[in-house]
């Protein structure tokens, strides 16, 4: 199975800039890796950190967020809020053992179809080099570990009670 592994990347793009840029990449017939699955939101400011966590927990090997350039947000300043959330989230993901290259925020304006191509290809290459994340599998492992530890504690306490 592992030799067939191909990275799965979830992208969340804002409607006005990055999603439109991805449309432009299509209209310009710019070819890029098919590993990205795009979910559209109106503004990158809508992106709840839980969306990213859910994506990893659902088997994504990487998450890409795309918004308008600072100062160009269709909703004035939503992207600044995205930036703040992403900065915090990045630190948290590292604590989970999720490598920094698996989570990326990019500002891509509606006219930068070529940047969509570049960013996606670059991200796919980096995530491919990192290998599968397999967070769902890891979570099962972690649960087992916790169960095991609990049973050990129980056993020890049981002994003590005797």
């Amino acid at each position: 199975m592992s030799e067939q592994w191909d990275p799965k990347i979830l992208a969340i793009f804002c409607n006005w800039c990055t999603y439109t840029a991805a449309d432009l990449a299509g209209v310009s017939r710019l070819k890029y890796e098919p590993n990205v699955r795009v979910v559209r939101v109106m503004c990158s400011g809508r992106i709840d950190p839980q969306f990213v966590l859910t994506a990893f927990a659902s088997g994504a090997d990487g998450v890409l967020i795309g918004g308008c350039h600072p100062g160009d947000c269709h909703y004035v300043e939503g992207n600044y809020k995205t930036l703040r959330r992403v900065t915090l989230l990045k630190r948290m993901l590292q604590d989970f053992g999720i490598e920094p290259d698996r989570f990326r925020l990019e500002w891509i304006s509606a006219s930068e179809g070529d940047r969509v191509q570049k960013v996606v290809n670059d991200m796919v290459a980096k995530v491919r080099a990192l290998g599968p994340l397999n967070l769902p599998g890891r979570i099962v492992e972690w649960d087992k570990e916790v169960e095991h530890m609990q049973s050990e504690i129980d056993a020890r306490e049981g002994v003590a009670h005797v």
Binding site: D23, V41, G45, T54, A60, H74
Partner: protein, 662 residues
Amino acid sequence: MENKEEIRIGFYVCHCGTNIASVIDVASVAEYVSTLPNVVLAKDYKYMCSEPGQDLIIADIKEHRLNRIVVSACSPLLHEPTFRGAARRAGLNPFYVQMVNIREHGSWVHEDRAKATEKAKALARGAIGRVALHKPLEKRRVSVNPDVMVVGAGIAGIQAALTLAKAGKRVYLIEREPTIGGHMAQFDKTFPTLDCAACILTPKMSDVRSHPNITLLTMSEVEKIEGFVGNYKVTVKKNPRYVDEELCVGCLDCIDQCVFKQGKFADHFNLGLSKRKPVYIPFPQATPKLVVIDPKACLQLMTGKCKQSCVDACDRGAIRFDQKPEHIQIEVGSVIIATGYKTFDPRRMPQYGYGQYENVFTSLEVERMVTASGPTGGHIALRNGEKPKSIGLIYCVGSRDNRYNKWCSRVCCMTALKLGHLVKEHTGAEVFNFYIDMRAAGKGYEEFYHKMLEEGIHFIRGKVAEITDWAMTPEEEGHLVVRVEDTLAGVVRRIPIDMVVLVLGLEPQEDSREVQRMFNISCSTEGFFLEKHPKLAPVSTNTDGIFLAGCCQGPKDIPDTVAQAGAAAAECLALIDKGYVEMEPMTSFVVEEECSGCKTCINLCPYNAITRDDVKGVAVINEALCKGCGVCVSACPSGSIKQNLFEDDEIFREIQEVLAYV
């Protein structure tokens, strides 16, 4: 609480001719989707957006009692309204429709058929999962203010304003210069008919001035715009003219009596080819015909010490040194941006010697020189006053060059041909055209080019490498030398020439980025404003109610500009005559039972749409002000704010489902 109706999804995948089907195995996508929960039927069809395609959906909704529709085709930004319309016609709430983008994000960007098909299936699965959670939504209707603001009063803005005014609409025409007319006012003749530019433009300018429906604000700039389609509030800053516009009658006595007996300051309108006084009129046909005082030149305004002979000269008392910038508030329903272009700065190409060799001119300078009312009275002369015996026109200066601007400026070939004709007519000189390709794609343009070919003007195909005054032979002594590879003859030539004319390309205005941000529209990478769709919505922008006309959207000639201005005016009229706009329902709302009233959301909202009801202790979102970004939704610690069509459940489901497909 949940309405336990049975979810019945119809799935349609479009071939888009061969656009999608040549890369994605559409039948296999449909087959896969038919196995997913809640899917009643899954079909593929050649053109879903066509009449029969839409009829197929409508018939299926009725026959199979479908209550959710997923269309896997092109971008939702293109055809979502189409399929929502079809659903509505079948009696289904349009927001039960979800699109999957497998063309722009699929077949057009991927080559591997198997992988592209897999991706299409994953995306379809996401939509199927999401659409089951959709709720019926209604669009709000908001009335449209019938007044229009046109920003920029060149030929584009003038044409748009006149069209709207003729239709009986009130127009606020905003121009930052002291006069309207823009670049066209500087032109002598227009191609390909060689009719005089002023004869076309000045009647329109005076129509603008006299039309009762047009409020003309010169020396004015938009400072702020708030609101949304149909209801914009604009703050316009009107800079001081130092002349009372109501009192001045344009007699120009003040100019005669100015303490400066001679013009001393570079005349901007004539590109510095002539001098003007601190009090001046930009050109004789300036509209409004009012003098203006340059605060950077006027002694009184600079030092406060002047005998103010202009004040004495004006028997109407129109000179007002105490004028301050004014802020004017206007309310409009729609806006046309027609802010024009600037020409390429030839100093960026030192190899052409502009500013270094005095007899290297720009196309616009020569345009002023050939004009009978221009700075030289229509005489083409070298800087020493002599008539040139040979003139070289260099095309594509700043255009079609990777080092400067990549784009073709579209008007330069014809401008150069026109100028070539005019300078030959005026001087009898030998005229050389140095061109890369002759682009004569407009109506009557190729014929114009052929006419010029027969006029005895020389054409040399090649990009000029350099202009130098370094003579290698006695014949070159005292001339400029054009070094060029003649690509048709296959030789490098040195041609001695008296006068060089750089035919300048067109660029976005210096402040186009600020304008873009203020109006919340997009720019293409080169800085021209981006239309919503080049074919479907060529004068619309991403912001509803804001339209584009003229060269601010991209280089174009006068006929195209005028046509585009008419189109932009028509878009405004369509909006106004309908009388209302339907607002997308993707606004946010507060679930009051769950809100703790913590106020986190209040400061986040860029539109001040959220307030706190202190009696109930909960946040309240003003639906009319909410634009649906959803920034409050993702910040709410208790999850009690929801965004229509982008509810957490819907997005979570979409994420989980697109990833669930292996």
